[in-house]
Amino acid sequence: MNLVQNLLAAHNLKQAFADRRNKLYRVAYSWCHSAALADDLVQETMLKALKNAGSLRNTATLDTWLYRIMLNCWHDHLRVQGRHVELFDVSDDKIPEHHETYQQVQIVDRVRDAVARLPMSLREVVTLADFAGFSYAEIAEIVDIPIGTVMSRLFRARKNLKEQLLDLGNDESMPVRLKRVK
């Protein structure tokens, strides 16, 4: 491959990163629940990805590679902050979009609160699966854990969320609102 082809490949890669930026941001937000931090994580991920583009052997694995970089950035951040404790602070970002109904906002807030209460290892896996739509094998690759561990974490995460969100007989649950969710 000559230099121009290399550069074109680099250009395509850059475009591919840009195309994925929004989704990366949403996943980053689901981990940290801070808009500014999520933005920083994505920014850092993009920079690291471009810098290390040579290590991407197979473009078919671009997504898992990118999310793995972002997860590492996130873990680095947690290490620097010296806290592996959970982040509960979701209160800053509750301003509803114009198109959202109050009820939808309530549901979204409640789910985000519930996700924020999950242990980090469960939170990462459940958002990669249920929001980002990765397969178990892909999550295993991103998080660098066995598939069995992915299954187990996903199971525990959903069980926890189900208890927080769906258990009947609790006034704080939202069986009525769930009817709006398809």
Binding site: K14, R26, V108, V111, D130, L154, F155, R158
Partner: protein
């Protein structure tokens, strides 16, 4: 079939379609006959879907959009330029001697054309920032060698080239009249080759505080701006950025 035959772990695998076809069919059939199993599966799916919708529209970052885009653009261009530089070095700057503007020859020239298009550089004149933030002798010498090669090849091709050498951090030492080993060489570049030289105002201030004395720079050195002001300014105007 009683729904208790299926554990929640199994049902999780079912909703994620991670079971083999036989097991998928088995649960599907059981579900059609068992309302409590249907409810369990429905709850699991609901949880999954709730997580799916909870982050569809996260709040936008608090930083002003302009500022973030600016930072991103700078970073992208910096990385891209570093990539170009790296590839150029890898293939050898000697290729520049052919002709930096030809369309079918020098790979390095093609690289610059590619980047120039990316950065919307004025094709009538190449504008290049050489950003030096180190006083490592080897790195500085390599940078000046590269700058000389570029200048020579553009001159040979009778093409216009404008170059700014912007220094900050320890890189400012390159432009100090009293300590730089490259005073004559830089003077020649400035006087003969349309090169401008800049030392970051903030870096000078910090260095002077550290050393406790006033620094003396080559007379052509512009010292009134910081690198962080200068570089984005030029990038907006389409200059090619090369970080040493």
């Amino acid at each position: 079939m009683n729904d208790m035959n299926f554990t929640d772990e199994k049902l999780n695998l079912y909703i994620d379609e991670q079971l083999d076809t036989d097991e998928m069919h088995l649960i599907h059939d059981a579900m059609s006959k068992d309302s409590s199993l249907r409810e369990r599966i429905c709850q699991l799916k609901t949880v999954r879907e709730l997580v799916g919708i909870a982050y569809q529209s996260p709040p936008a970052p608090e930083r002003p959009r302009q500022q973030r885009l600016h930072r991103a653009t700078l970073a992208w261009r910096g990385i891209a330029a570093s990539l170009v530089l790296g590839l150029g070095v890898m293939l050898g700057w000697g290729t520049y001697e052919l002709n930096p503007l030809r369309t079918d020859g020098s790979a390095a020239a093609d690289a610059f054309r590619f980047y120039a298009e990316q950065a919307a550089v004025d094709h009538n004149e190449r504008k290049i920032i050489l950003h030096i933030s180190t006083d490592d002798i080897g790195a500085v010498k390599a940078a000046l060698d590269e700058a000389d090669t570029l200048i020579a090849s553009y001159r040979k091709a009778n093409a216009a080239l404008k170059m700014d050498i912007i220094t900050n951090k320890n890189g400012i030492n390159l432009l100090r009249a009293d300590v730089s080993p490259y005073v004559d060489r830089i003077e020649t570049m400035v006087h003969d080759n349309n090169v401008s030289i800049y030392a970051c105002e903030r870096s000078i201030m910090k260095a002077e505080q550290r050393e406790g004395r006033k620094m003396v720079f080559l007379p052509e050195t512009v010292t009134s701006k910081s690198a962080i002001e200068l570089i984005p300014e030029r990038l907006k105007q389409g200059w090619v950025y090369i970080k040493v």
